[in-house]
């Protein structure tokens, strides 16, 4: 994965700026960034769980992808060991996340509740590189 994320300032909440060579890398970076903020990024551990989401447009797809990863982490009381997005095709993303039981780990979590649609963007620049922003409710 060569996608990257950086944290965006927000008075009450927090944002992720995502960059990569493909839309697939953007979604991979989003999952890693989310898990890192939740104190739940443990690369290499766990079992792969298939993941597929769809939306009417790419920004909507990014929000749903983040929400789906958040739901899996919370409902399965899990940490994220990896992420692989096989294909982003229009408004559909197909991939997998690697989940491991949280167990006795006590993640230092920012307490993210959801991804918002506020100022969300997901686009390809003139140089062919992809970038996106998504703000998360804390």
């Amino acid at each position: 994965m060569t996608g990257r994320y950086e944290v965006l300032e927000h008075t009450a909440d927090v944002g992720l700026r995502l960059t990569g060579d493909s839309p697939e890398e953007i979604l991979e970076a989003a999952a890693e960034g989310l898990a890192d903020l939740q104190g739940a990024w443990f690369p290499g551990q766990g079992q792969d769980v298939p993941l597929e989401v769809s939306a009417a447009d790419l920004p909507g797809l990014l929000v749903r992808w983040v929400d789906e990863v958040l739901y899996l982490l919370e409902s399965r009381d899990a940490v994220l060991g990896g992420v692989s997005v096989r294909q982003v095709d229009g408004g559909r993303a197909v991939g997998a996340v690697r989940l491991a039981a949280r167990g006795d780990r006590e993640p230092e979590s920012m307490g993210i509740k959801a991804a918002t649609l506020h100022r969300v963007r997901f686009e390809r620049g003139p140089d062919g590189a992809w970038s996106a922003d998504v703000y998360l409710d804390v």
């Binding site: 008075t11 927090v14 920004p59 959801a114 649609l117 506020h118 804390v138």
Partner: protein
């Protein structure tokens, strides 16, 4: 316009149907402009059916869609809408105050370390924690329908607790059948847990009583030990908002409607999506009340364990429980007519004045208690609603100090150990589950709560009753 009142004229952003009104000092208003929160006030004024004005309370700051501190009422008879972003993800997040008969100097000071650490052990907190009550799916559905009546039916809590909650602890129009399986799955293990982020529980001492009559009605006196807690609807509320935000976003797209901020997506009142959202949101609100009710039980147990007396003997009664993220149908006056409006409060507290029929008899003569937490380590306040607030802000006031600094900046200002030492040097015992993140909620990351409540009083939105100072902090 007048002291503490700033007008955002129609035309500030295209499509404004009403002006914006920001209640603030000049310094707060300037900061809100720099923060772009005032632009969000203007964006809210574009919502269909919005009446009178888009308001912001003095703790205004940049949110998403609505500003934090935003209040807007929409009229179903004038094509009004409901916006899930105008309530937020933590549906019915709110605050409650529990009083005691204990005097800090005589009965409290010597036990504070033991008490805070006992609370820290007995109050489930942090992300994904298991709550205090194990629930089947059917139990969760009952919580969604019955609010605090469900734990009461299981023998948890006291009957009078319900009376001192907003809506008597249950919104009768709740529709558990509109809450998704996913939301129930997320919420079921979490009932009776504090959560993370800015959620907290504080042991406080009443430092100053400003209004003797109101304080007496609430059972408050100077030197008294109290407990304030701040929590919401946990994963159940977060998922409910997520589910409906998706639906309204799709609805906007299908209707070809574009809003200034996509998080302002809405559904027209009366539309199937709006009706299902309202029913689900009320159900999540009932979950939030039941959550704080169970946390209160943990508080009572902790005091009993440390002080060796029953909670009743210690006088651990609920003063009031009120939400600050909610939309409700309320009757207000618009252009001389009484109308039922959908009042969105996003980081704002309802503040009914004296005589309002929805208030419990104990508070009907003084107005609704409004519980305002300060930032960690600073004063908190108890206020009461005013008659004036009904015409000025659809009976709304502030909800807290309001953030002034991002979390990332706050963490750079002071190391966790330094912050802990600084709090303890001021006589505040701290139990945190995540020490590294403590600095995100440091006092310097927030506005001065005293200035915020002064601005609310100056604008006529609420009146001060008492100021409390923290002596123990339990952080999520």
């Amino acid at each position: 316009m007048e002291p503490f009142v700033w007008r955002v004229p129609k035309g500030t952003v295209p499509g404004m149907r009403v002006p914006g009104i920001v209640f603030a000092t000049e310094e707060m208003a300037t900061k809100a402009v720099e923060d772009r929160a005032v632009e969000q006030v203007a964006n809210v004024a574009t919502l269909p059916g919005v009446v009178t004005a888009s308001y912001a309370m003095p703790d205004i700051h940049w949110g998403y869609g609505f500003p934090i501190g935003g209040v807007a009422a929409t009229d179903p008879e004038r094509d009004g809408v409901v916006s899930p972003g105008g309530v937020g993800f933590d549906i019915a997040c709110g605050v409650r105050l529990i009083r005691s008969d204990l005097d800090w100097e005589a009965d409290g000071r010597e036990h504070i370390e033991h008490l805070v650490h006992t609370l820290g052990r007995r109050v489930p907190r942090g992300m994904g924690t298991k709550g205090r009550m194990r629930l089947t799916r059917d139990d969760v559905v009952r919580v969604l329908r019955e609010g605090v009546r469900f734990p009461l039916s299981r023998g948890v809590g006291w009957d009078e607790d319900a009376e001192h909650c907003e809506d008597g602890g249950v919104i009768e129009d709740a529709r558990p059948d509109h809450v998704s399986d996913r939301a129930i799955e997320r919420g079921a293990p979490q009932l009776g847990s504090l959560g993370a982020g800015n959620h907290f529980l504080e042991v406080q001492v009443v430092d100053e009583v400003v209004d003797d009559r109101a304080a007496t009605a609430m059972g408050l006196f100077e030197g008294q030990v109290c407990v304030m807690l701040h929590s919401g609807s946990r994963g159940l509320g977060h998922q409910t908002c997520t589910d409906f935000l998706r639906e309204v976003d799709e609805l906007m797209s299908s209707l070809g409607i574009v809003v200034p901020d996509r998080q302002l997506a809405y559904a027209p009142l009366g539309h199937d999506v709006a009706e299902r959202y309202l029913g689900a949101m009320f159900a999540a609100a009932n979950f939030a009340r039941a959550n704080r009710h169970l946390l209160t039980d943990a508080v009572r147990e902790s005091f009993e364990a440390v002080l060796g007396r029953s909670a009743r003997d210690l006088g651990l009664f609920l003063v009031y429980d009120v939400a600050h993220n909610l939309a409700k149908m309320e009757e207000h006056e618009v252009d001389g007519d009484r109308r039922m409006l959908c009042v969105h409060r996003k980081g704002a507290t309802r503040s009914f004045g004296p005589g309002h029929r929805e208030l419990p008899s104990r508070y009907r003569d003084i107005g609704q208690p409004v519980i305002i937490p300060g930032s960690m380590g600073t004063s908190s306040y108890v206020l009461v609603g005013t008659e004036e607030a009904a015409s000025r802000s659809f009976a709304s006031t502030c909800h807290g100090a309001g953030r002034a600094m991002s979390r990332t900046k706050a963490k750079k200002v002071m190391a966790p150990a330094e912050l802990r030492n600084s709090l303890e040097a001021r006589g505040i015992t701290v139990a945190a589950s995540q020490w590294r993140l403590l600095a995100e909620e440091a006092p310097y990351a927030y506005k001065d709560v005293s200035q915020v409540v002064d601005a609310c009083e100056g604008a006529g939105l609420s009146r001060k009753v008492a100021r409390l100072r923290p002596v123990g902090v339990v952080k999520g």
